[in-house]
Subunit: 387 residues, 2 copies
């Protein structure tokens, strides 16, 4: 009994920060995934432990299932079809289980990720011995939704063998869940995100679950279907940032300059709305693909200027912008800013030589680059693979 | 009979480009001047020519006054107290006078500057032989109002010996004109600016004449008095730009994204208004000088972001921004953008060592830096000096 799930990361196309002040934002999935393989132990394995292997970090944690059962007795009574929040009591028990492991220090989010794993696993699957293997193409803590992708892929794998999956285990290849099942995945993943982030917006897990794009405003999420394939160069500056401090900085600036900032946020709102319209408009013919891309580039450039006027850019982001500008490519920061990742639209007609040059130049500055398709499908599972 | 006049250059503190779309802008004089010395020939000189020496370029042009009289007969009938526009016919005659000189090519604005000189000289002083010597601390064509400063200083020197001056030629040191005389200087200088620029806004000559600061919106200029000395580092990127194309680019972007751009312009309007309030508020005590400077820095940063969202920044401007940001200094482009000059506020408490470091780093990138006091007095004259 083995299953593999993959869930995509996300980018914010427009509206980060301004969304906190009531503007519309647009997020999209990217074709970079976190993979979670789940294999239940068979009696012949003679193994009663739950193992979590984080391949990218070469880390493995394991607990005997009886130890988990003892620590989290109420998990056994939960039903996989009814997503539940981790109680304070369970959180304490989980903290004890995590502490028993040797979690390396300095890996931000690692302990909380392991906690989310224990809660989701025990709540959905109870106390079965198994091995869960995680690999990811998403850099951690860089605003690309790696924690949500982990939660979504994990939940999908865990639900794959329950009645809630609604899928035929004998089907081959990557399979999509139905709408009702996706809703269940999304809700459970949100519970995991709460353990990791405290008060997540729900945007990351929604994008990772459903894929494609969403617009969100004042807590309301609207799913959108992109009619045009977009390719982005994502540059990870590898500069860590303090999201809370950046959000607070924008709020303080808004208190100091309420009139100007209100107009800045309104400008961002217009940009997000225009972007949503462009993305959803009927697929254009070949000629107007370029026009559409130019419009998106211009909106990205405008949004970046507005983010700079909010004070959330960073010297390292400017370095990326300056480099891509040399090649006449448009870029904007994505997410919290102050470091993190930068998006650069790669137009359909752009030659591969130019792309190679830009990447070489950015990587020589110490950045990490990858090319991502935008607005891809959400979480998928695949039965019967070996991890 | 000798007089020297000096007229300051200007910077746009906020609102460039947005002002074309109805926003408020704020401009200020800087303590960098264009100097014009005027010495009438005496009979003993035995010289009946009008000489124009441009010291910085090591250029000299001269015309016999009888040749000028022949070419511009109607100038003799003009009165120095009644500013007059250069007629089409006079413009043609002047063009012929300019063509007779060997004007080096590639010096943008040189021929039109010489034309303005001939018109202003002959209109205000008629056909007296004299030597006019021009030197300037203002880089040409970089948006610092060098042409207006030239016109204002020239007009001031020309008016200094007329009844319109209203000054005592025996007074020592730099003298200021009275209000009525300044108005006359400003109007004549505007006629010169029209010859050089076609359709000038009148901002440059007004700042150069009256000094201090002005706010302007929809063609209305309001003079302001700054209550706090401000020091700016002005970095000349030496990258030439096409102001008309930049202005047109913003208008085209506004047509493509009317909603977002309207909010961007409104944000700039708020910034200019806030800046005007801060500048004119009563002189603060020492402690709050820093607070005031921090507010101005924040407004500059916001304005720069908004200019970027209008698409008028340039890689070379970003280089300056990135360099000054390393030293935690706030900068914005000033004027048309696309090159030109960048302003960096130098806070009162900033150590000279830091200023030296920034300048060294910027100059090593090939830029030209100078420090300017902001909001200084307007045009002044000094009798009896030797040029």
């Amino acid at each position: 009994m083995e299953v593999k799930a993959r869930a995509p990361g996300k980018i914010i196309l427009s509206g980060e920060h301004a969304v906190v002040h009531g503007s519309t934002a647009v997020a999209a999935s990217i074709d970079k995934y976190t993979y979670v393989s789940l294999r239940f132990s068979t009696p012949s394995d003679n193994d009663d432990t739950l193992k979590l292997q984080l391949k990218d970090m070469s880390l493995e944690f394991s607990w005997s299932v009886s130890r988990i059962k003892e620590a989290l007795p109420e998990s056994g009574s939960l039903r996989s079809s009814t997503p539940a929040s981790c109680s304070m009591e369970s959180a304490r028990s989980i903290a004890a289980l995590v502490e028993e492991q040797n979690i390396p220090e300095g890996k931000i989010g690692l302990a909380s990720g392991v906690s989310a794993f224990l809660w989701l696993y025990s709540s959905i699957q109870g106390f079965k011995p198994a091995t869960v293997v995680v690999t990811s193409e998403l850099p951690l803590g860089s605003g690309l939704g790696s924690s949500a992708a982990f939660c979504v892929a994990l939940v999908a794998a865990l639900l794959a063998f329950t009645d809630s999956a609604g899928l035929d285990v004998n089907q081959q290849g990557w399979l999509l869940f139905g709408e009702k099942e996706l809703e269940l995945v999304n809700k459970w993943a949100f519970e995991g995100e709460k353990i990791i982030h405290g008060k997540p917006s729900g945007i990351d897990n929604t994008i990772s679950t459903y894929g494609n794009m969403i617009s969100f405003k004042s807590g309301n999420l609207t799913r959108m279907k992109s009619n045009v394939p977009l390719k982005m160069l994502i540059t990870n500056t590898k500069v860590g940032r303090n999201t809370k401090a950046l959000v607070a900085g924008v709020s303080e600036r808004t208190l100091r300059h309420p009139d100007a900032m209100a107009f800045v946020f309104s400008a961002v709102d217009s940009i997000s709305k225009e972007l949503s319209t462009i993305i959803q408009s009927p697929a254009p013919d070949d000629l107007s693909v370029t026009e559409r891309e130019e419009k998106i580039e211009e909106l990205m450039e405008m949004n970046q200027g507005l983010l700079q006027s909010m004070g959330v850019s960073h010297a390292v982001i400017e370095t990326v912008l300056r480099t891509t500008l040399k090649y006449r490519l448009s870029s904007k920061l994505t997410g919290a800013g102050g470091g993190g990742c930068v998006l650069t639209l790669l137009p359909t007609l752009l030659s591969g030589t130019v792309v190679d040059k830009v990447i070489t130049e950015l990587e020589s500055s110490g950045f990490q680059c990858f090319i991502a398709g935008i607005g891809v499908k959400g979480v998928e599972i695949c039965y019967g693979v070996s991890s």
